[in-house]
């Protein structure tokens, strides 16, 4: 079993990744970047392969994703996301551009119409790495049928109707399993009661 708390090996490693990313952001630290690359590039490539990209494509996009992380490191906010989550969103967006050939509509918190977050309950909220570590642990305790639809959602690039057909269950069941999974995971994070 993976241990959720920072202070364990996984937690230390995750915090180390955040520190490396902050070093890249602060002074373009190439040694830190190389360490991030060694850890994340093979996982990004695996993610893209899992979604059906050919080996060469996945290789190229994984390298692009790391370059993009270099360029955007200043935008990384460790309060909001873990290094792994942030890199996942970069890889996801690159895949949409390059493989789906669609644009990913980008959020802009500086927009005049943006409705800001309510006053932060800063102290109660978990930091990015803590939340990710807890989520990884919580995923292990989800019922198998929920884990299956969650994984298909992230790795199969299919609408819910096709996921339903593949599993031979009604679409409403796919949606309710996702709802239950999200609810359970967010309860574990203390995001909802």
């Amino acid at each position: 079993m993976r241990m959720p708390d920072p202070g364990t090996r996984a937690g230390n490693q995750a915090s180390a990744m955040t520190a490396l990313l902050e070093a890249v952001a602060a002074h373009g630290d190439r040694t830190a970047f190389a360490a991030l690359f060694e850890h994340f590039a093979p996982r990004i490539k695996a993610y893209l392969r899992r979604l059906g990209a050919a080996d060469g494509e996945a290789e190229e996009l994984a390298q692009e994703a790391m370059l993009s992380a270099w360029r955007k490191a200043g935008q990384f906010d460790p309060a909001k996301a873990s290094a792994g989550t942030w890199l996942f969103t970069i890889a996801r967006n690159l895949r949409i551009d390059a493989l789906r050939k669609e644009r990913r509509p980008e959020l802009d918190p500086e927009d005049p119409a943006w409705v800001p977050d309510p006053e932060p309950a800063a102290d109660d909220r978990l930091h990015g790495e803590q939340r990710s570590a807890r989520l990884r642990a919580a995923l292990d305790y989800l019922p198998e049928d929920q884990v299956t639809v969650v994984k298909m959602s992230f790795f199969d690039d299919k609408p819910h109707s096709l996921i339903a057909r593949e599993l031979g269950i009604p679409m409403g069941t796919v949606k309710s399993r996702l709802r239950l999974a999200m609810r359970r995971l967010r309860q574990d994070l203390g995001e909802i009661t």
């Binding site: 093979p42 996982r43 873990s82 996942f88 509509p105 119409a113 992230f154």
Partner: protein
């Protein structure tokens, strides 16, 4: 001003996974600009994606991959990390139409090539996704009614200005209403203000009764 009707958790997760077509992703993203609650849910779903990616068996990169990326950093083509570029000057409709939607409008909202669909009702097509789903803006004049219609697939609506009511209740700014092929409804704009909404359909609308006459227009 906070939305009271939200996309389903399943839809937010599909958005976080990156599996939605661009028109639907645009609608969800525009709701997120108006809804801190769903932003928090999407952030958690993205953390699930990050955890799943982290747990995959790593796929080795080609020999020399790191060196070639470092060389690209050295070539000076890659600028170091900096703050994002500043946005263009806000337009007159900037408070009304949030990003990312505003970036999809070629002109301010009042100057769009609105096509009349019937008394008090206009629409303009914004975007067709690769899956055939379509995003349109609709403008329902204050107090006007859209003819009763059914749906051949899913229809998702995000209200941007004003509000409308239908058989299922009131839908106001920031709210998302999702109907499927089992639903027929007759949205009526509230009398005080035009109701502008972003509507994404994944199949052509099926109109009932006399409203069939309007069907050709609905395909614009």
């Amino acid at each position: 001003m906070t939305a009271s009707r939200h996309p389903s958790d399943a839809l937010l997760m599909a958005y976080a996974a990156g599996s939605l077509g661009e028109p639907t992703a645009l609608l969800v993203a525009t709701h997120l600009a108006l809804c801190p609650r769903c932003r928090s849910a999407v952030a958690d779903a993205e953390a699930v994606g990050g955890a799943l990616m982290e747990d995959l068996a790593p796929a080795a990169l080609n020999d020399g991959a790191l060196e070639s990326v470092l060389a690209r950093l050295d070539s000076g083509v890659e600028p170091p990390a900096t703050a994002p570029a500043t946005a263009p000057a806000p337009r007159g409709d900037a408070r009304l139409i949030p990003q990312p939607l505003r970036g999809y409008l070629p002109t301010p909202v009042e100057e769009l090539p609105w096509r009349p669909l019937g008394p008090g009702i206009h629409a303009v097509k914004l975007l067709t996704g690769r899956g055939g789903d379509i995003a349109r803006l609709y403008r329902i004049g204050a107090g006007r009614a859209v003819p009763r219609h059914g749906h051949r697939g899913n229809e998702m609506t995000l209200v941007l200005t004003g509000a409308y009511r239908d058989d299922l209740g009131r839908v106001g700014r920031g709210d998302v209403a999702e109907v499927d092929d089992a639903v027929t409804h007759q949205p009526v704009a509230e009398p005080t203000e035009d109701c502008i909404c972003l509507v994404v359909t994944d199949a052509p609308l099926r109109l009932t009764g006399a409203a069939r006459l309007m069907q050709p227009f609905m395909r614009t």
